[in-house]
Amino acid sequence: MPRLELSVDQLRERALLVRRDIVTLLAHSQSGHSGGPLSSADFGTVLFFHEMNLTPEEPTAIDRDLWHFSIGHVTPVIYALMAERGYYPLSDLLHFRSYVGHLQGHPSKHDTPGIDVSAGSLGQGLSVCCGMALGARMDGASRRVYCVMGDGEQQEGQIWEAAMFAAHYKLDNLCAVIDYNRKQIDGDVQDVMGIAPLADKWRAFGWNVIETDGHDIPKIVDAFAQARSAKGRPSVVLAHTVMGKGVSYMEDDYRWHGVPPTKDQADQALRELGTSLDAWTERLRAHVSSSVAPSTNGVS
């Protein structure tokens, strides 16, 4: 059934696979973002493998839940989640950002099956999700809409236009998640352009605010459950995370926002994650059909 609701242990395992995929695909593309994808890996995994009603075999099924990453630059985690969930073979991940293959630097509807709306310019995604949620309501559909935003992205005024809109129209089928990793390109979010107190801002804009540890799987599962039960207003999950989470030398360092690891760095990272670049590359390369479940070899 499309809502997998994996167990906490299974989710932890999947999140590990996703982190390995992220590091591996970046090692091969030698271009792309490391920090945000790794901080989003845990709540991303909960969304794809527990919370959301997804239909990878039929990406446009009308009863599926809708999801959109407003932070288009975190394609490594988006593509890894999609591949692990069965939208396309894991081997596709080895062609990230290359002229061949369908995995563009930023999400592109007409290149990648399962992407509903292209992205890459920050601040636009929540508005898109407002439209999806309103449309679903017009259709009397029960599908829910999930929007992933960044914390630096909160500086874009359009997000506050959308926040006002969602509250005005009481879109309780809309759930936003903010990857609150406290970093953006030029440094700490509070130094670049302070967004605190962020929870107060969302409350003042009429939203149900849920704060959680963005790396604690059970708490994340619970946060989305709370969001689902909140009626009459939209919910936002402030997921407190660590940029680069899972790779020692990347953690909490903004300089990893937009650069990939070298192959040596990637191998070191993958060893910290219980495998190696060669082993994991092999695992990805071996998976050429999304109809066959990928092996989970190497998962400790």
């Binding site: 009308i62 809708l66 592109s108 509807k109 007409h110 509903d116 709306v117 292209s118 992205a119 890459g120 310019s121 601040g123 636009q124 995604g125 508005s127 898109v128 999700c129 407002c130 439209g131 999806m132 949620a133 309103l134 449309g135 679903a136 017009m138 259709d139 005024g157 359009q158 236009e161 959308a162 006002m164 809109f165 005005h168």
Partner: protein, 329 residues
């Protein structure tokens, strides 16, 4: 093929009068078109940014309140909310002043609407200097340049009430993003309910082989008046109504260059990047001939009466006649 959609020659009694033209608002054509669409297609939804009356989406709002979405003063959000609605199967039309539709939400048009190629229909009101007393900030004259530059976007600039209504109906059934530009004031009706309208096919409003006047929007009327005056002097000017700026009817334009040998373009838009340069792109690549561009000469508008401004900014029929004389050298 353009011939196929040629308007009935002015000879025919059906042709509207140029001397005492009926005056109607193009934005009402938009408003009435939306109501007609609403009656036939349940997926049509309409969004507005606190400008229901001046864009005439109020007609739709009264008839179909449940499919009308008031977004308030937030054009960026409106553009992307429309995209989200389109992503779940709706056919969203949104409306605001053209200055804000094209500029305030340009990035949203480019990335979310056009790159995704969603069927969002953008109604840009108050296009051109004829907006009048509101002044420069509200006189949109850059939309053609901006929208033409964005891949996947289509654009229609209808010439009168009937054409605006037909365009509104036509763009609803093409699953791509469109920008529809219309104006504020009542303007002369130069087509009839039966004048053919085919997206991408220019209409020959008047035949002629000495010169071609290529126009869009309210300037089609000015072009027809200019053609009359030129005819009185023995110059037979073809008047081509290029209502679709994108995709452009390159064949009709190339034929005009080849058959007429000289071209004058006329538009209520800035001279850089508008209809004139779109036509020039085609002319130099197919059949280079002398051209004169009648347009606003890279200046901001100002307050005044619509006619007063069109004259002051050099885009009335006499300016077209002068340009024709220059083009014919």
């Amino acid at each position: 093929m353009s011939q196929a959609s040629a308007a009935p020659p002015p000879a025919s009694g059906a042709a509207p009068s140029l001397t005492k033209p009926e005056m109607k608002k193009t934005r009402e054509g938009f408003g009435h078109g939306l109501v007609q669409l609403g009656e036939t297609n349940p997926n049509i939804v309409v969004l507005v940014g606190d400008l229901s009356g001046s864009t005439n989406v109020n007609f739709f709002a009264e008839r179909f309140p449940e499919r009308f979405v008031q977004v308030g003063i937030a054009e960026q959000n409106m553009m992307c909310v429309a995209a989200g609605l389109a992503a779940v199967g709706k056919i969203p039309f949104l409306a605001t002043y053209g200055a804000f539709a094209s500029c305030r939400a340009a990035d949203q048009i480019r990335v979310t609407v056009a790159y995704t190629d969603l069927p969002v229909k953008i109604g840009g009101a108050h296009g051109g200097i004829s907006v009048g007393p509101d002044g420069a900030t509200h006189q949109a004259m850059e939309e053609i340049a901006i929208i033409r530059s964005i891949p996947n976007m289509r654009m229609v600039v209808p010439c009168d009430y009937w054409e605006t209504k037909k365009a509104t109906l036509a763009i609803a059934s093409d699953p791509h993003p469109y920008y529809l530009r219309f104006g504020r004031e009542s303007v002369p009706v130069v087509t009839t309910p039966d004048t053919p309208f085919v997206i991408g096919k220019a209409n020959v409003m008047r035949e002629g082989k000495d010169l071609a006047i290529i126009a869009c929007g309210v300037m089609v009327y000015e072009a027809l008046v200019a053609a009359e005056q030129l005819a009185a002097r023995g110059v037979q000017a073809r008047v081509l109504n290029v209502h679709t700026l994108k995709p452009l009817d390159e064949e009709a334009i190339a034929r005009a260059a080849r058959e007429c040998g000289a071209i004058v373009t006329a538009e209520e838009h800035q001279i850089h990047g508008g209809l004139g340069s779109a036509v020039a792109e085609v002319v130099v690549a197919t059949h280079p001939v002398p051209m004169e561009l009648v347009a606003v000469r890279d200046r901001f508008g100002r307050s005044g009466k619509p006619d007063e401004l069109m004259a002051a900014f050099g885009i009335k029929s006499p300016d077209i006649v002068k340009a024709a004389d220059r083009a014919l050298g």
